[in-house]
């Protein structure tokens, strides 16, 4: 078994235990979610929410690699993907998301 397979197996156990439920492309997935931080700024037209956080997913849980601009739902709120970190054969895909 390669180190990457071992990492994938370990992460699957971590996700079983501590994972947060996120929805992506209509599927519910287990993810590691960093602490969301959100700020509100008043500008022309109203209040804009800003701030971002990371969502880590197992690559083999994904049907296709997420793309920038797609949306992820977490805790009832919708977030847009602004960055995708994908480093095969590393088993984790890391998304940076911000309020949609």
């Amino acid at each position: 078994m390669s180190i990457y397979n071992e990492m994938a197996g370990d992460l699957a156990q971590i996700l079983d235990e501590f994972g947060k439920r996120v929805t992506f492309e209509g599927r519910e997935l287990s993810a590691l979610v960093s602490e969301p931080q959100e700020t509100l700024e008043l500008g022309a037209g109203g209040f804009t929410a800003s701030g971002n956080f990371m969502v880590k997913l197992l690559r083999h849980d994904l049907a296709a690699l997420p793309r920038i601009g797609q949306q992820v739902t977490y805790a009832g709120d919708i977030f847009s993907i602004v960055r995708v970190s994908n480093r095969p054969p590393h088993p984790v895909v890391t998304l940076t998301v911000e309020p949609a």
Binding site: G43, A44, G45, A49, P99
Partner: protein, 133 residues
């Protein structure tokens, strides 16, 4: 008067592009970055003489590049430009919506196209003649 002028121009834009949300700049509503929106801003109204005022009005059209795309932005920009061709119909909509102050005329002083934070942004700057009574 600035807020009333913003509301009057919001009414003009809503009449010609009903599928696009249009909002006054002086708003405390949440603003979502993933939808196309037009914002009307009237930062300055100058008194000229008697009841006549000269207002500077900026109209910002923002289209999120990833969610809506360039084609949609160009299409809505064209609608926006068309809305500001006829002074007569715009005046009639403005004056019905505001009930005073009244729009007496306007011209587009400048226009710009930019990309700001992954958003296509068209801005039209207008000078409008306003009569307060």
């Amino acid at each position: 008067m600035n807020a009333q002028i913003e509301s009057g121009f919001v009414a003009i834009l809503q009449a010609v592009m009903p599928s696009v949300p249009v909002r006054e700049a002086t708003s405390s509503l949440p603003l979502h970055g993933d939808i196309q929106i037009a914002i009307v801003e009237c930062p300055e109204v100058e008194h000229v003489v008697g009841p006549l005022h000269r207002a500077t009005v900026s109209i910002h059209l923002g289209t999120p590049a990833f969610e809506e795309g360039e084609a949609r932005h160009k299409e809505t920009s064209a609608l926006l430009a068309a809305a500001l061709v006829s002074n007569e119909s715009a005046q009639s909509i403005f004056n019905s919506a505001s009930g005073g102050p009244f729009l007496r005329g306007f011209h587009v002083r400048s226009q710009s196209e930019k990309i700001v934070e992954s958003t296509w942004r068209s801005t039209l700057e207008l000078v409008a003649g306003i009569c307060s009574g």
